[in-house]
């Protein structure tokens, strides 16, 4: 059910394909990671529908966002994506929200809190990394040459992209309304924008921003994650005051898909 207040500016709401679900008063705002869109949350949303107001959206370039809103100038750094979150919060007049970000969205959320702390009460990171590339004395896990390889693979899959993400009807027997309210195509991302987003994601360095976070935060991390690691999770814990860490026994970079119950439990125990 869409609960957008009437007579208000809705540029970001339309631009970012914002959907509002759930019946609660407390708000959970979900930010998807690189390579997918708001559909990535479908396995965990039903667990929060009865008690929370749930807001999902697509970053510009992903899913059903307004592709024409993409400008190199705005989205050449994660700050531009953080601005998307702030504008959504502002247009929906949100307060005391919990932001839940997957992968790169963790740091985008962190930047949003830094720029507009008035909207946020808590922040949850799923598979976060303040810097993906290895650096002196820091093991992000990825070398600069890996980024070039990734861009090559993305180029190779350019033609097959639309076929790969062909629209399908999403089955969700527990909550057919939820299924209908989300878009029917998965992880559809404009290939050109995706390449730029990949570059921005992997060249970002938010290590200095960690210590500036002054609201409670939770890190949810898989034991084995190709894109990040326990070492990175520990680094975050060391540099963010009041950060809790939940290590899930599952493997992979998307525990909300591979281990939804583990993620649901971790979030519920935190909020």
């Amino acid at each position: 059910m869409l609960l957008i207040p009437k007579n208000m500016s809705n540029n970001a709401i339309v631009r970012n394909n914002v959907k509002i679900l759930g019946q609660g008063t407390e708000t959970l705002l979900f930010g998807h990671g690189f390579g997918c869109d708001q559909n990535t949350w479908r396995s965990i949303l039903p667990a929060f529908e009865k008690d929370y107001r749930l807001i999902v959206f697509d970053y510009v370039g992903a899913g059903s966002s307004d592709l024409s809103a993409y400008t190199d100038e705005r989205y050449s750094s994660l700050d531009g994506y953080a601005q998307d979150i702030i504008e959504i919060c502002s247009e929906l007049q949100l307060q005391d929200i919990t932001f839940i970000g997957h992968s790169v969205s963790s740091m985008i959320g962190l930047l949003a809190v830094k720029q507009a702390p008035q909207f946020f009460r808590n922040i949850i990171f799923i598979g976060p990394s303040p810097r993906y590339l290895n650096d002196d004395g820091y093991k992000g896990g990825i070398d600069a040459s890996d980024l070039n390889d990734l861009l090559d693979v993305m180029d190779s899959n350019y033609l097959g992209w639309s076929r790969m993400v062909a629209p399908l009807i999403m089955a969700n027997e527990e909550d057919p309304q939820l299924a209908q309210s989300l878009t029917a195509s998965f992880c559809a991302t404009d290939p050109e924008i995706a390449k730029k987003f990949a570059r921005v994601t992997f060249l970002s360095d938010n290590r200095k921003d960690l210590s500036l976070l002054n609201i409670p935060s939770l890190t949810i991390q898989c034991e084995e994650d190709f894109l990040t690691s326990k070492v990175v999770a520990d680094y975050i814990q060391q540099h963010i005051p009041d950060n809790r860490l939940v290590m899930l026994p599952s493997k992979g970079h998307c525990p909300h898909l591979s281990d939804p119950q583990g993620v649901i439990n971790a979030i519920k125990s935190f909020i």
């Binding site: 990671g33 997918c36 180029d155 399908l168 992880c187 894109l227 493997k251 992979g252 970079h253 591979s258």
Partner: protein, 348 residues
């Protein structure tokens, strides 16, 4: 080939292991559960050793990143992912391949297995890489064109054959605003007085494939009307078809204003000269009228006397002189008549 050999080659285990396609089954966390001999040979690793590896570990780093970020979530959300271009690490280097994967879930909706085929495309990939290089080169050229078009002082744009705007340079955005038009009829930058005439001319140029070149008044964000010289030329591809139109406009407002001012001044001078000319013509006419009148009076007398002499019987020796005199007088009369009607003014 005898029947036993045929049956052996149709045996499903034989087909699984020997078909010229790789087969691999793995757990969602990457644990490899089964591979066929073909794939094992391609990787140059024994089947037993492959079982000790994670699926992501047999991909090169770029492919592993891509798989983790894009394909892994996709196989959680939908049951198939087709024609994924990936690069596998092998004992002898790398193998470029296309992966077609099917994912399976248990009754609780948990992903439990992924079965995939792997098709080696090393040669095709080489060709694809060459195409990609060309694509990147074309993109680089496009960036170069856009950079150059932003450094020149002119407004530059390109238009598709159907009239859709493809590109505008920064100078246009600075002058007319961020997104001045998608289609030529939407462009409101042309001053109202010139707009319809320009649209009509441009439409004709598109239909006839002729160059558009005009001096046009335009209005930008400053709301000030200025003169521009606008030129739009068709770019023909190798097949002789218009691929796009290249437009440029130069601000000629100063020169045009000066030209208009000079023209006004010249017009004023010409009007003054014309007035003087007309006055002089009138003066000359009046003088001619007076002089004509003064000369023609004695001439009329001479003509009268000649008429009287005509009635007299003149000696034959004088008759020739009389005829000569009459002809000369008539010629003089004609000459005076002509001299008194300048510029086609009839004085009679």
């Amino acid at each position: 080939m005898n029947k036993d050999t045929i049956n052996k080659n149709l045996n499903s285990d034989f087909l699984y292991d020997q078909l010229p396609s790789g087969f691999i089954s793995y757990h969602p966390d990457g644990r490899i559960l089964r591979v066929n001999e073909t794939f094992s040979k391609w990787l140059g690793i024994t089947i037993e050793d492959i079982y000790q590896l994670n699926f992501r570990a047999i991909l090169n780093n770029g492919s592993a990143l891509y798989y983790s970020m894009v394909i892994d979530p996709l196989l959680n959300l939908q049951s198939t992912a087709n024609e994924i271009s990936l690069t596998f690490k092998s004992a002898n280097g790398e193998i470029d391949a296309l992966l077609n994967a099917v994912s399976y879930k248990d009754d609780l909706g948990n992903l439990i297995l992924i079965n995939a085929t792997v098709q080696k495309i090393t040669d095709r990939k080489r060709y694809e890489s060459a195409l990609l290089q060309e694509k990147r080169h074309a993109e680089e050229e496009k960036r170069r064109f856009e950079f150059l078009s932003n450094t020149v002082p002119n407004q530059i744009w390109t238009i598709a054959p159907d009239g859709t705007c493809i590109y505008v340079n920064q100078k246009i955005k600075d002058y007319f605003g961020e997104q001045p038009m998608d289609y030529y009829t939407e462009f409101r930058g042309i001053a109202a007085g010139d707009r319809e005439r320009c649209y009509k001319a441009w439409k004709t140029c598109m239909a006839t494939e002729k160059i558009f070149a005009r001096e046009i008044r335009m209005t930008g964000v400053s709301k000030k009307e200025e003169w521009f010289f606008v030129s739009i030329e068709p770019y023909f591809n190798k097949e002789g078809q218009i691929e796009s139109w290249f437009g440029s406009s130069t601000n000629i407002h100063k020169q045009k204003s000066l030209q208009i001012a000079n023209y006004s001044s010249l017009k004023l001078s010409l009007s003054s000269a014309q007035k003087t000319l007309d006055e002089n013509k009138q003066l000359f006419f009046n003088i001619a009228m007076n002089q004509s009148h003064m000369i023609r009076r004695p001439l009329a007398n001479i003509l009268g006397l000649l008429q009287l002499l005509e009635d007299e019987e003149l000696p034959s020796s004088s008759q020739n002189l009389f005829d000569l005199l009459r002809t000369s007088v008539q010629e003089l009369d004609e000459m005076i008549k002509n001299a008194s009607k300048p510029s086609g003014i009839i004085t009679e």
